[in-house]
């Protein structure tokens, strides 16, 4: 029942918003004074005044205000999965009986073990296979506020797809295009074109050998300035930024304390490092502290020697949950216990905080207090790759000792140009477009809050902290997951649905990624459609509460 428990936990962390409407028709939190315009919504960010550095953001879960997930939903969800699995096994059983030739690759043949074992692939073949059409949907063009999907059909229950040749334009609530920099036109694209003309495409070597270019060095400097640390190292791929750099930081005799919901790349990096890995409860400083006290006092397993270093690895914004990490508490613990803190800002950099500087900005914390700041350019900057920022000593060491810097290709010229031009815009250093960066940040903040609040208002169960551009909406039942995705597509909206194994089994969800390039009309259209789908699929678990609140108003 561990996962069910966690689902309830997750659900409880949903913020409940009382409704007050401003002149704009936007709903704002009642905790704040009535704002005059929609722009003043920004002031209601939990980024808050500087004196609140250590205190928790006040919009943490308020226990008791919410009832738990109805047990009816819990039971039916588990039952549905049970059904699916029973049917999967039945279909496999009869399939093997009547069509053994289709199952050849799952059996030992000619002295070779099967490449993919029968049991491992059951989920993929029988459960994922049913809803394959909801994933890997190919697109063409830019994944901006709207995206062009290549229409495809399947005649054999999603085993293969055929393209109809049609292209449909849909509203994009799926891509991580938070600040709307995924563009093929505009000042950034012009800068990229200029860079390609001047510097070609790639460097054809690793950074430590001959891959360092002036453009790379300049970009690294700018990233450091943006993040607010002494220096930064740029890596050509996001996953690799974690997987290939953590091994340079810790090794045998070291301990990694990792949040249980950390991204796969962090897990890979931790495994490659050879350090001991322990996991603490998601976003719970108390659990981390207990683990720290136990680990430090007991030392290494068996030998009881003290640990060489302890690295606590967390994410700034959890992409499947939309929750920010409890950074102030972590820093407090860091001061007390002397561990090193690694924050993965893959989703938060550029998207959180008043100035878009990520989770440190969000909590008003000095970024230099975090030992290692990692982030990616895929999301807010419309580019690719990632960075590691920190003290000069750290970055200098990584430039010669991290696997990515020594062995992997350097970031390509267009990507570097995109990163530097979009970053310059957010920094306000681009004179011609000095205000545009801040406008995009404001727009994103308004859009995210608006969308999340309206969803709650409609009675949906959402997750995540306010202000997060990632808004998960709980679907629970496995049948509703593809249904939601297909319904949305029918209404020309692209969304991402996720379920086990990316989330706990019970809390299948749809994830909306809000972008600064969405207009109010886009969002209203989406909300209207989502509301209809919600009625259709009976997703408004909170309808009564929402209605009651409305009456109360």
């Amino acid at each position: 029942m561990g996962k069910g428990q966690r689902a309830i936990q997750n659900y409880k962390s949903t913020e409940f918003i009382e409704q007050v409407r401003d002149a704009d028709g936007l709903v704002v939190g009642a905790a704040f004074k009535a704002p005059a315009t929609s722009a003043s919504l920004l002031q209601t960010e939990p980024t808050s005044p500087p004196e609140r550095t250590v205190a928790l953001p006040q919009d943490k879960p308020r226990e008791g205000e919410l009832d738990s997930v109805p047990s009816f939903i819990l039971v039916t969800t588990y039952l549905s999965y049970l059904m699916l699995i029973v049917f999967a096994h039945l279909r496999d059983f009869f399939g093997k009986l009547f069509h053994p030739e289709q199952y050849v690759q799952l059996r030992e043949q000619n002295g070779y073990a099967p490449m993919v074992s029968d049991f491992e692939s059951l989920w993929t073949r029988r459960l994922y296979g049913r809803i394959r059409d909801c994933f890997n949907r190919p697109i063409t063009g830019v994944a901006g506020g709207h995206v062009h999907l290549l229409d495809r059909v399947s005649a054999d229950f999603n085993r293969t797809f055929e393209f109809t040749g049609r292209v449909r334009k849909v509203l994009n609530l799926a891509s991580y295009n938070y600040l709307g920099f995924a563009q093929s036109e505009g000042p950034c694209a012009d800068k990229v074109e200029q860079a390609i003309r001047e510097c070609g495409l790639v460097q054809g070597s690793s950074r430590a050998e001959a891959g360092r270019s002036r453009l790379l060095a300049d970009t690294e400097e700018m990233v450091a300035r943006f993040v607010g640390s002494e220096a930064a190292l740029v890596v050509s791929m996001g996953y690799a930024t974690n997987a290939l750099n953590i091994p340079a930081l810790v090794g045998r005799g070291c301990l990694i304390l990792s949040d249980e919901l950390n991204h796969s790349s962090l897990v890979s990096g931790a495994r490659l490092s050879g350090a001991t890995i322990r996991v603490f409860r998601h976003n719970q400083a108390a659990s981390l502290e207990a683990e720290l006290r136990r680990s430090i006092s007991q030392g290494q397993p068996r030998t009881h020697r003290p640990w060489k270093k302890i690295l606590v690895v967390v994410e700034g914004l959890y992409s499947m949950e939309g929750e920010t990490c409890c950074l102030p508490e972590l820093l407090e613990l860091r001061r007390r216990y002397g561990f090193y803190l690694f924050v993965d800002e893959a989703h938060s950099i550029g998207a959180l905080g008043k100035r878009g500087r990520g989770v440190c900005d969000h909590f008003n914390v000095d970024p230099r207090e975090v030992d290692v700041l990692m982030g990616t350019f895929t999301k807010s900057f419309g580019a690719a790759g990632g960075y590691i920022a920190g003290s000069r000593r750290l970055v200098d060491y990584l430039r010669l000792h991290s696997h990515s810097a020594v062995y992997a290709e350097t970031m390509s010229v267009p990507v570097l140009a995109q990163v530097s031009s979009s970053m310059r815009m957010i920094l306000g250093e681009d004179r011609e477009h000095a205000l545009e960066g801040q406008q995009r940040l404001d727009q994103l903040a308004i859009n995210s809050r608006y969308f999340a609040q309206r969803l709650v208002e409609m009675g949906f169960m959402t997750m995540g902290d306010p202000g997060s551009p990632v808004i998960p909406l709980l679907l629970f039942s496995p049948a509703k997951i593809p249904a939601f995705s297909r319904e949305c597509l029918r209404r020309n909206i692209a969304v991402v649905v996720v379920s086990y194994p990316a989330t706990p089994i019970i809390t299948g969800r749809v994830r909306f990624c809000i972008s600064a390039s969405h207009t109010r009309e886009d969002l209203d259209y989406a909300l209207e459609q989502v509301s209809e789908i919600g009625d259709l699929l009976m997703l408004k678990f909170h309808k009564k509460t929402a209605a009651a609140n409305k009456k109360h108003d």
Binding site: N136, R197, R212, P247, Y397
Partner: protein, 532 residues
């Protein structure tokens, strides 16, 4: 034992009390609905109680035993759990506080050594476009230097046509794809390149990854899991070493490129598996090696390898990162070079960042295996897809190579042969690798090193690295950009000997090759004449 259940029901409430108190309380108002239920429950309870009473009357000792058993079960379930195998010490809070206070962690990263600091300060910085000639921002000269340091085997890096197309692509696809392939990150150009790659190599299907290193790192652990067996070459590059580490499979190493040693290991492995029973009786078995070795420039005898694979029933994972685009008549890699059906290689890994002048990597395999990677290949599933610009650049490069394979490859081979021959004639230099390899590692020969050392002192790795760095500096003064092959020394399984890696390109002219060889020659003679 049937009665145990009844006893449990009864014992939990304590026997002997009034019957009515044991009955579940029922609300009086909904009698009609719950009436039947209540009667049934009442009846069962009475029956149970009577059964217990009877059994107690008939055999009191048995009832006693059963009660004891239940008591034991309750005690067992509720008692404190203990872990077997940990040797944790029980400490008081105060002691823990003291230990926390005392604990002094090492610094996050060690201080750089003096040599490393120098290397970092003097690191090459290229200003402007890359290509066979580059302008440096780091060195002493402002004149362009000849580039023999970057991987640009086919000269695609500064191809103007590709650049033009890149700009067109930018205007259609932007830069980033803003999502992993699973979540609207799959572009039509990705799918086209995948098809093109599969067709070019002659395999069934292909999958794109957005970084070459991560391709290897994802593909191997995707199929080889804990309990599986990997037989790997000792000389494989770092990406393969890390991938093996990540897969957590059982690994056996064979001597670098030694097929008889490989056969010995394969035999050994199979012998160990004889008589194994149970679930893991037949693990997946892989031979993992590189087509063209990054660290030596050697070529794997793939024909022998395929023969061994068939005989001992292993599968081959071949890292063709460096051989793709370089070896073979069409430039399709090691399978092309040895004229082997690519399907014999079960998982073929290649790079787009080396010969093709783009970025990223790919894996060719059977259709099912490629589809499996779309969910289980970590680098594919959990990272953003490759930017459209680079995808199209790779695609254009393959088109160009397909259109004129001789043009590119003959040039490359002639240049390679010329370079190798010229380098071999330089005294005090040891040239590694196969004749066809445009990736040339040159090392100072042991004799030269002995001659250079005053009073026969031993050479440390740093000393040799320092000498090689001087050598590259000297060459740079003569207008030739070279680089020392860099490694993360502390993480390499077997650290290769220090070397300078020279990368020949088909775009180099004969004159440029000669100039490079000459620069190396004079640099070597200047360096080796100095005693240290």
């Amino acid at each position: 034992m049937v009665s145990v259940a009844f006893v449990a029901a009864a014992a939990s409430v304590a026997t002997g009390t009034q019957q009515s108190t044991m009955l579940p309380p029922a609300a009086p108002d909904d009698g009609s609905k719950h009436g039947i239920l209540r009667t049934v429950w009442d009846f069962t309870f009475r029956m149970g109680l009577r059964y217990i009473k009877n059994s107690y009357k008939d055999d009191p000792f048995r009832t006693f035993l059963e009660v004891c058993l239940i008591a034991f079960i309750i005690w067992y379930i509720t008692k404190q759990k203990y872990n077997i195998g940990t040797n944790e010490i029980v400490l008081s809070e105060k002691e823990i506080d003291e230990l926390v206070e005392e604990w002094a962690p090492e610094p996050l990263v060690p201080e750089l050594t003096e040599f490393e600091r120098e290397a970092l300060d003097k690191a090459i910085m290229i200003d402007g476009p890359n290509g066979t000639k580059v302008r440096l921002a780091s060195g002493s000269t402002s004149k362009p230097v000849l580039n023999f340091a970057s991987y640009n085997f086919l000269g695609f890096i500064d191809n103007p046509d590709i650049e033009k197309r890149a700009i067109e692509t930018l205007r259609k696809y932007g830069v980033g794809s803003c999502g992993p392939p699973g979540f609207y990150g799959t572009l039509d150009v990705h799918m086209e390149l995948e098809k093109q790659l599969a067709a070019f190599i002659g395999h069934s299907a292909a999958i794109l990854y957005s970084q070459a290193f991560t391709t290897t790192l994802s593909v191997i652990p995707c199929f080889s899991k804990r309990g599986d067996i990997i037989v790997a070459d000792e000389g494989v590059c770092f990406a393969v070493q890390q991938a093996i580490l990540l897969s957590r499979s059982k690994v056996y190493w064979y001597k670098h490129n030694d097929m008889s040693d490989l056969e010995r290991v394969l035999k050994d492995v199979n012998k160990q598996l004889v008589g194994r029973r149970g679930k893991n009786a037949l693990p997946r078995k892989f031979i993992v090696t590189e087509g063209l070795f990054q660290n030596t420039g050697d070529i794997t005898p793939l024909d022998v390898l395929v023969d061994l694979k068939r005989r001992y029933k292993f599968r081959i994972i071949l890292d063709e990162s460096y051989s793709f685009g370089v070896l073979g008549k069409r430039g399709a890699g090691a399978t092309d070079h040895f004229n082997i059906d690519p399907h014999e290689v079960d998982l073929l890994i290649g790079a787009l960042s080396l010969a093709l002048g783009a970025s990223g990597g790919f894996c060719c395999a059977d259709k099912d295996l490629v589809e499996h990677q779309r969910l289980s290949g970590l680098g594919y599933c959990f990272s953003a897809s490759m930017p459209g610009i680079l995808t199209v650049a790779a695609s254009d490069a393959i088109h160009a190579l397909e259109a004129h394979p001789e043009g590119y490859l003959n040039n490359l081979r002639e240049n390679t042969a010329l370079m190798r021959n010229s380098l071999k004639r330089i005294p005090g230099l040891q040239v590694d690798g196969a004749l066809e390899s445009p990736l040339i590692h040159v090392r100072l020969s042991p004799e030269a090193l002995v001659r250079m050392k005053r009073s026969g002192g031993a050479w440390t790795k740093t000393d040799i690295d320092r000498v090689l760095t001087e050598l590259t500096d000297e060459a740079q003064k003569d207008g030739v950009l070279l680089t020392r092959a860099m490694y993360v020394d502390e993480h390499e399984r077997l650290l290769p000997n220090s070397s300078i890696r020279i990368c020949v390109s088909s775009a180099h002219t004969r004159k440029e090759i000669e100039k490079c060889a000459h620069a190396v020659k004079s640099a070597v003679s200047r360096i080796t004449s100095k005693k240290r």
